[in-house]
């Protein structure tokens, strides 16, 4: 399982990572529908195998940062999921985190998606004032080896 090696600047883990698999092969915390309800269907359609959900908190600002690392089985599947508007809506701006990322700013939320190999990575911060920290963390994550 691919996990970040360090926490984002100014954040600490809020809880141990959670792991969700498929219905037929659930992981420690269950299957994808336990994680994202019906929204999981589209991930399954693209070969979803598992997801690691990592939640960070910033105690000072009472904010949170989330990183979800979806193992889509193959790089091809990850690219297909990244291209699917049901996962990555069309309302994005393109930024670089080492790879092309689709970034979304819906005040006060800021989040982005990018691909690393067979992994589709979603990273979110609840306070858009911290978006630069999220982007830097995503760049760092992109450099790390699974």
């Amino acid at each position: 399982m691919f996990l970040p090696k360090t926490a984002p600047a100014g954040f600490v883990p809020a809880q141990p990572p959670e792991y969700f698999g498929t219905e037929s092969e659930p992981l420690a915390d269950g299957h994808i529908f336990n994680f994202i309800d019906g929204g999981g269907v589209v991930y399954l359609n693209h070969g979803f195998r598992s997801v690691a959900h990592i939640l960070y908190k910033d105690e000072k600002a009472n904010g949170s940062m989330t990183v979800d690392i979806f193992d889509m089985g193959t790089p091809h599947n990850a690219r297909a999921a990244f291209a699917d508007e049901a996962i990555c809506p069309t309302d994005f701006t393109v930024i670089s985190v080492g790879a092309e990322a689709k970034a979304y700013h819906f005040e006060p939320d800021f989040f982005l998606y990018f691909i690393k190999g067979r992994y589709l990575i979603y990273a979110h911060v609840s306070d858009d004032a911290r978006s630069e920290i999220l982007i830097d963390f995503s760049k760092q994550l992109f450099k790390e080896e699974p």
């Binding site: 299957h31 309800d37 019906g38 309302d91 939320d109």
Partner: protein
Amino acid sequence: MIRRMRRLLSFLAASCLFLFAASAVPAGITTQGRPQSKSKVITVRSARVVNSRNRVIPAEAKAMLAAGLEALTGKKEAKEAWAALGLKPADEVGIKINCNNWTITLSPPAELLRALTDSLGLVVPANNIIVYEASIADLESSGFKGNSSTSGVRFFGCDEGAGFDDQERLSRIATSTCTKLINFASLKCVEQGRGASLFFKNQIGSLVEKDMPKCHGNMDFLASTLAKPSLKNKTILNICTGLRGTYKQGVPWYWGGLIMGQDPVAAEWVGYQVINEKREQEKVAALPVPEYLKIAESKYGLGTCTAGHVDWVNLDR
């Protein structure tokens, strides 16, 4: 100032009722035991209840809820309105909320939930109110702390020991503990063939875990969820928060409104109209009336999604 208007769509649809006759709900169909003429659904909107940082003004949320209750029941005092909906002082009221945190937080705002529990508290003791979700983790992820004490509003997860009724395959919070239920959904567009995630999807969280995935693709099963006797017979109000909602998968907007009704099918249908109004503004194709709503109407008699049978009243504050 409150401006009340009948929605043009409802009017036009009613005018064209004859054209819908072939597919309309047969006369005399009942919704949760009540004879149905038209199903009243209230939308209450406020431009100031929530700001662009998703901050909610508690007093405005409270006023919106009160206005909606009055419009729905015709009773000015909240206590009388709840009585008109069937609430009695000895009732235990379960409020099923939907803690949505993927990828945009659409969980019910604490301020609005507080307004609802305070209002219910005019009739029943606070400790007779149970806010629940599929799991305690879901509640906590949205900032609600579990409370199983004998003081204050209780907050439970269905995974916390109440267990599940074997026959209804439903949390015993709904089947045994509570005598009345409120279906408190969030305005969420999921597309992927299910269109929106509103009142029907919200009660997936009351099901036994093994049945939950069946709702994702099996339209009949999803429709049947609200036909389970405890949900059908105990639910006195369906309320949906759209202070912030999504009109496309993962794309939010601040609608600043509530949807309230006793007929879950009609209220869900109105939810689709609200989402489609925004989609039209954004030049996105409208969501069709989904198959599960048609099944809920025609097969399970849970209400109506036929436009001419919905009395949609909008209040703009």
